[in-house]
Symmetry: C3
Amino acid sequence: MTNFVLNAWYMVAWTDELTAAPLARRVLDMPIVLFRTATGQAAALINRCPHRFAPLSRGQVQGEMIRCGYHGLGFSAAGKCVDSPFGLAVPPGAEVRSFPVVERDACLWLWPGQPELADPGSIPDFGYHLDPAYRVVKGYSAVGAHFEVITDNLMDLTHTRYLHPAFGGDDWVPEVAFSQEEETLYAHYTIAQYPPSPFSEGYLPANGRQIRETDYIRWNAPASMYLHIELRLADAPDDARALQPSSHILCPETATTTHYFWASGAERDAPITDEEHVEAMKFAFDLEDAPMLEAVQEGMEGKDFWDLRPAILAYDAAGVRARRLMRRKLHAEQRGEAPAPPEDLAAAMPAS
Amino acid sequence: MTNFVLNAWYMVAWTDELTAAPLARRVLDMPIVLFRTATGQAAALINRCPHRFAPLSRGQVQGEMIRCGYHGLGFSAAGKCVDSPFGLAVPPGAEVRSFPVVERDACLWLWPGQPELADPGSIPDFGYHLDPAYRVVKGYSAVGAHFEVITDNLMDLTHTRYLHPAFGGDDWVPEVAFSQEEETLYAHYTIAQYPPSPFSEGYLPANGRQIRETDYIRWNAPASMYLHIELRLADAPDDARALQPSSHILCPETATTTHYFWASGAERDAPITDEEHVEAMKFAFDLEDAPMLEAVQEGMEGKDFWDLRPAILAYDAAGVRARRLMRRKLHAEQRGEAPAPPEDLAAAMPAS
Amino acid sequence: MTNFVLNAWYMVAWTDELTAAPLARRVLDMPIVLFRTATGQAAALINRCPHRFAPLSRGQVQGEMIRCGYHGLGFSAAGKCVDSPFGLAVPPGAEVRSFPVVERDACLWLWPGQPELADPGSIPDFGYHLDPAYRVVKGYSAVGAHFEVITDNLMDLTHTRYLHPAFGGDDWVPEVAFSQEEETLYAHYTIAQYPPSPFSEGYLPANGRQIRETDYIRWNAPASMYLHIELRLADAPDDARALQPSSHILCPETATTTHYFWASGAERDAPITDEEHVEAMKFAFDLEDAPMLEAVQEGMEGKDFWDLRPAILAYDAAGVRARRLMRRKLHAEQRGEAPAPPEDLAAAMPAS
Ligand code: FES
Ligand code: FES
Ligand code: FES
């Protein structure tokens, strides 16, 4: 019994990772194989042949089926055994579990819970990934931390000041607010003015004038985050404006490791090149955030977050709220209850 | 309490690995030291000095004893403390466990169970190892899988078609049969004809004529297998015949790792050189089988084979039978019963 | 619940390791951060920020506080939160545990137990570290063994003959005696004569004459050992004398790993250079002792020392005594009792 919410859409791959070459990926501590059939159908199966337990990812996609590379049984995208080697009969009951998947906004979403509850309408919007107004770069990082440790990081952007000095440093002093719409959470940041940073110059060249920044980050369960950054000239906010959308979508690999899918968009005419853009994302995350998050995970020594009695600061409101929402969902699932309606959230928010 | 059958002969080394230089090897999850005394006696002791637990393999063989390299106690091949440093009295009760060993057919066999049951007559025959009619190459691989996962692999040679395409590929279509004599199991394979493969050419050059292959693999508990391959020309089976015997002898190192001792013989005048022969064995096992077997082990995630409810194919009969025989022996030992007589095996065989 | 005696002084660093750059070190299976404030105060805190559990060692010492590198909370040397980022109020209750520390004889001693019992008067004497009569070299080794496995090694120097042949070899035959003063243990060694060794020549050049050696090693709980070696010419013991003091101070990192702080002194005019001195210490410990001790630890396979029923030799008296003293302390602490008075030790000594 793992401790993950099952009735939720988890992003498990970029759609262009899906080809005829099977891809093995651990998701919610389950071994999964992802592939695309000859007709283009996306498939997600448990990555374990029911015969002698070979990973199906060591086999080959042939037409609409994947054939095990050990003794040759073939399985459809729905996980049924449809072919047996040497002309033998298909063994009765040989089947692997398949998962509902949806391709949208260049993301492959997988539903590990009850199939009848899998409503694609609840997948959050990342439409800018395919919007021609933006040049979008995307990537993937494997992170050695529980996904909620990373959610905490993303939902409290004030960590920028100490962990990402290149993004603004001591002058980057935000005003913070929080809001919520049903189960969608937002943290809002306004930085009235700060000197242009290497980061801001890539999107909005300021000729030395001060920058005004207004951001929000949006959270949807289980851990799909959209960050909207708006840069203006502090002394002429109506003259120029640069939007910089980015995506931070987390999928638990195990209880202590996470798949982190990220994307970042620049307006078509922004000065930053795609190469610089990738570099900036990798620098901030792989060299500054990830080592800290992995150190946090290690420092928790396998203990539960709440058992460690964390000090709560005002800026933690959204991260704490996200944790509580996930905990309510988990407990409801574990009790076999229907998904709980959103609680009266304002009451439960820490003072901010 | 480990889950291994103890009253059985396990091959733990090639006899030429045994010298005055002590050899540490884990066997059935026990630390063992193997060495040969000055008079040539083979010895196997628990590799832990009873004084302060130094591995005796860090000591030195001196005459008929092995001397601990930490404080100098000396132990006979029978495990008795026979020498104390600085002329002190030998400490009473200082002793390490020794195991019955037998050298036969270039193999060192060890009996981890009740010494009074250790009958060398029950060691299976690998006489061709020393038969001058053959050029025999031999080797060792450490495999990251439970030994029965490897037994499954060896007792179902139909995996050749998908996992070892160089041995015959799509044309290699066997007829399979099974037989049993008391506790010795056989799987028989006949491949009526297939085009000469790189493998068959090494033993029987066919000048493009089709090959007829008849094989059997013999199993004895715990996991000592002899594979007998007979190659002929399909269109003239009486003209030429090549025998290719090989040995596949498994010894559990731990519950998830195995010592695999292999040997392979070619008739004196076969075209294959010893170097090519070693290369072929290593290629097939180390590069094709072992990665698959280790992936199977990992995919089982520590669970019991039967609990995973494997699909059973007709070709699994011998492997399944071997697993059942071992399980009966294990349960009998754990209940402290005498070794069980062979059951009525035909009844228990899966339909084939 | 770890199995360590808490009411004791543990050496956790050389004092010159303590700077404004925070040092992370695991001690008694707890994560600790060590640093020195601007005014020179030594500080030892749990290395985990109470906010989101970042290691404080990833932060910076600023004046009298250490500032977390994640979101910027600042903590005093006593562990109180004294600064909050962005001008927010200091969160009530935010605090990390601090430990009493004492700097003495170039060692930093830490008290992990009840602070009111921390009496610096009970720290054992290593005054020669700072005595101008000696040239002292010092160092550190990380050892993969329980600290008592290393105590055993040090309290029975007869292992020298087999493990350190360069120190005297077969001619190095000691007479051994033991003594005790309250909870301080001594093992005494006299080697009547042996040919000069590479070791003895470094301290007392003998021109080929025989050496007479008298040593004692002193033990104090938990595992702080002082070795006093005295070398003379065997045929003229009053003519020349070289003292060679050394320190062997152990601090458990985890249940199976140990911080080993060592120092070794030579008289000002001894022939050995500091470089040779360091080299000799590292050779003996890192290349001869440590591999053996780590092999012992591995050979114990996680079992308790006494459960393995070790053979006891006469030379083990001091090591066994040290183990018993530590066990009495541990049991007293676990029962919540006052530290036990020394037992009647002579009665409990193994015959020697
Ligand atoms: S393990 Fe897949 S067919 Fe045998
Ligand atoms: S450990 Fe073997 S003699 Fe001491
Ligand atoms: S984790 Fe230290 S201030 Fe947030």
